[in-house]
Amino acid sequence: MNNQPIIISASPHVHSSRTSKKLMYDVVIALIPAFLVSLYVFGISALIVTSIAVISCLVFEFLIQKYLLKTEITISDGSALITGILLAFNLPSNLPIWMIIVGSLVAIAVAKSSFGGLGFNIFNPALVGRVFLLISFPVQMTMWPTAVENNTAIADAVTGATPLEIIKEGLMYGETMTELTSKIPSNIDLFLGITGGSLGEMSAIALILGGLFLIIRKVITWHIPTIMLITIAIITGIFWLVNPEKNANPLIHILSGGVLLGAFFMATDLVTSPMTKKGMVIFAIGIGVITVVIRKFGAYPEGVSFAILIMNAFVPLINTYFKPRRFGSKIKSKIV
């Protein structure tokens, strides 16, 4: 035998070989289709925004860990990388660079490190960064690139406002859905990604693809995305059936704005979502309801980010009250 000592450790002696790093990089892979679409639609600016966000997130994480917290450097764990990508995906492609950097700082320093780092944060860091920017710089954050600023051929189809903004404003000024439908991209365009809005929320098909990949790889389960989408579809469906001229149909609601990005990538964030299936269902219903309420009654045309953050705050509570059923806690079976 070799001179290495025999190891004594307690069981189990094998491991699934799935590591948190691998999970994180699966998420990165799942985001690639949506990123490619944004490159196609917005051209080089998509690349710039994403790289700035990713680099600043990584740099801030490094600086904070090295000089402030003086802990182990964990920037290679993939989590700051994901935060960067997701933040970028939630920004307009023409946002000033310094704002992106500020957003990244808020995401990493305020939303993540101040809670104790990966695993301890309550709120999704990328969303905190985004909402901070939205509140601080509402004008820039809702100014979407138009054809002039963007030189790709496809950009002609990209309007200055998102479909949801057009609908919200139009309805406010008394226009009907029939009139508004001609002003927003068709469902097919929404599905493929030819629309205005944040970087990563473009293409429904790309986001669904990425989401399915995560479900197949068992990084996330189907519960949160499916239930969240169903909830939104049902509530907006009821409004729409009651008055189709004053309410957008469920398909528009699901395909536009941040719903799909939120459903597959933000609400499912492992750290900030519930840990039991029951809890996930409650969490997803909550997000769906709040999203529709904000879209319909709130000041903002879009409500997914707020909805997710609000439900993030309830996760500790959900985890406490929706526990898995303990084996043997209720004796259903009887001796026959």
């Binding site: 004594i8 002696h13 695993g119 301890f120 039991t276 001796i335």
Partner: protein
């Protein structure tokens, strides 16, 4: 559809490399080291002296109480020492050391008996044999079998489940036994049916042992009392509570036993031991042990005398591989790492697994990313991340209220945690502290 339990579970690599290898007889060991506590419960009391000559099968330590068991000499020879030696638990335990007398022909007496189907003993005689001949659960728990079979009058038992699941990766001892001693096992089952007046039997086997399933199905075609059930390959399918749930949809209550839902569960190995004890008056002095590992030259299944040092088995399979870093008594999920190969085989040893360099070391534990994986896989519906957290913070009472004591220590949580958190280590620790606090209180 294959039956299985509804909540939790994992599917580790099966690695059953020895499933096609017939059980060989290990040569008689030169010396055996027989610990006096090989079962759950009170240790047995030594009744031999140093230098005393013992014959094969002679009682050398008698049962120390009700939940205890007799221990018999596995060989004919001379007691050379009564000493405390390290056993598979890692602690020093009282052992009886016997030097084998190779000249004594009786060493070969009890092996290879023809199939004996006729049951001649009465019910009470059968139970007496099981008590006297030191039969304990051979699935790993080593609970004295006579205790399990002594059913109080007020309990109604309608099912006997035979556990042939063997869900631990690598191990094939039960699989081989089911293939090679199927008829004997059927007789063993009939013995218990007769003694306990039970006429509903299910043999549960995981679906990766199709030949064993077919074999039993063939043998029981004309028997409408014994059913053979194929189970989905899912760990820990072989855990009693999960098995009862899978086969009968009955849920053993928290802190309860299968008995509480009218079921008795016995491992196939135990059934075979019962057959031998009842039909041939043979005490439990040998068992099947799988010796395996990815780099082991000639992994095999052996008939091994209790008390044989692990070294003897390792020598038979071609020695320890160069890069051995861990030797495990049992399977990779629930087995115990042992310090060296001097440790003896006991009644509870179903396998010896040798693990090499690359698989032996644990990865460093990282922050919990709250992914919920541990919660999803826990077959008992616990929240391992929470239990670890509470134990870390010494909040034992809270941990108790979160049902830490119902953990079956299957290891699924630690297996799956992507942050390599030593969940089960902490849970075990928490459980032991709580047990201690409870005994201190009384």
């Amino acid at each position: 559809m294959l039956k299985t339990f509804p909540k939790g579970g994992i599917h580790p690599h099966e690695n059953k490399i020895t499933s096609a290898k017939a059980i060989k007889k290990l040569p008689l060991p030169k010396t055996v080291y027989v610990p006096i506590s090989q079962h759950i419960g009170i240790p047995s009391e030594i009744i031999v002296e140093r230098k005393e000559k013992v014959s094969i099968g002679q009682v050398i330590a008698k049962s120390g109480g009700y939940v205890s068991s007799n221990i018999h000499s596995p060989v004919a020879g001379t007691v050379t020492k009564l000493d405390k030696l390290i056993d598979s638990s890692g602690y020093k335990k009282q052992c009886i050391v016997i030097r084998t007398d190779f000249k004594d022909q009786s060493n070969f007496e009890i092996i290879d008996t023809p199939l004996q189907t006729e049951i001649k003993l009465s019910e009470t005689e059968i139970l007496q044999h099981i008590t006297d001949y030191g039969i304990v659960g051979l699935g790993g728990a080593t609970f004295p079998s006579h205790v399990k079979l002594n059913i109080k009058k007020d309990k109604i038992i309608d099912y006997l489940i035979i556990n042939g699941v063997e869900c631990e990766p690598y191990l094939t001892a039960d699989h081989r036994l089911m293939l090679e001693k199927a008829e004997e096992i059927i007789v063993g089952i009939e013995i218990l049916m007769f003694a306990l007046h039970i006429d509903k039997i299910i043999i549960g086997i995981e679906n990766n042992k199709k030949n064993a399933i077919d074999n039993f199905k063939k043998l029981t075609t004309n028997n409408n009392k014994i059913k053979v059930a194929a189970l989905k390959i899912k760990y820990p399918q072989g855990s009693e509570k999960q098995l009862v749930k899978s086969l009968l949809k009955r849920e053993v209550p928290k802190n309860g036993l299968p008995l509480d839902v009218g079921v008795i569960v016995h491992n196939v190995g135990t059934i075979f031991a019962i057959y031998e004890a009842v039909q041939y008056n043979k005490p439990l002095i040998e068992r099947v042990v799988t010796v395996t590992g990815k780099k082991v030259k000639n992994p095999s299944n052996f008939w091994v005398k209790i008390g044989t040092p692990v070294k003897d088995l390792i020598d038979e399979v071609g020695g320890l591989p160069e890069d051995t870093r861990k030797i495990i008594n049992g399977g990779p999920m629930m087995g115990k790492a042992i310090k060296n190969t001097d440790v003896p085989i006991t009644k509870g040893t179903s396998g010896i697994l040798v693990i090499s360099e690359d698989e032996a070391e644990r990865k460093r534990s990282k922050n919990c990313i709250r992914c919920g994986q541990c919660v999803f896989v826990c077959p008992m519906g616990l929240e391992p991340h929470l239990l670890m957290n509470l134990t870390e913070k010494r909040m034992y009472e809270k941990a108790f209220n979160e049902d830490i004591m119902t953990c079956i220590e299957c290891g699924s949580c630690s297996y799956v945690c992507p942050s390599h958190r030593p969940l089960l280590d902490y849970i075990r620790f928490g459980k032991s502290i709580i047990k201690k606090l409870e005994t201190d209180k009384n």
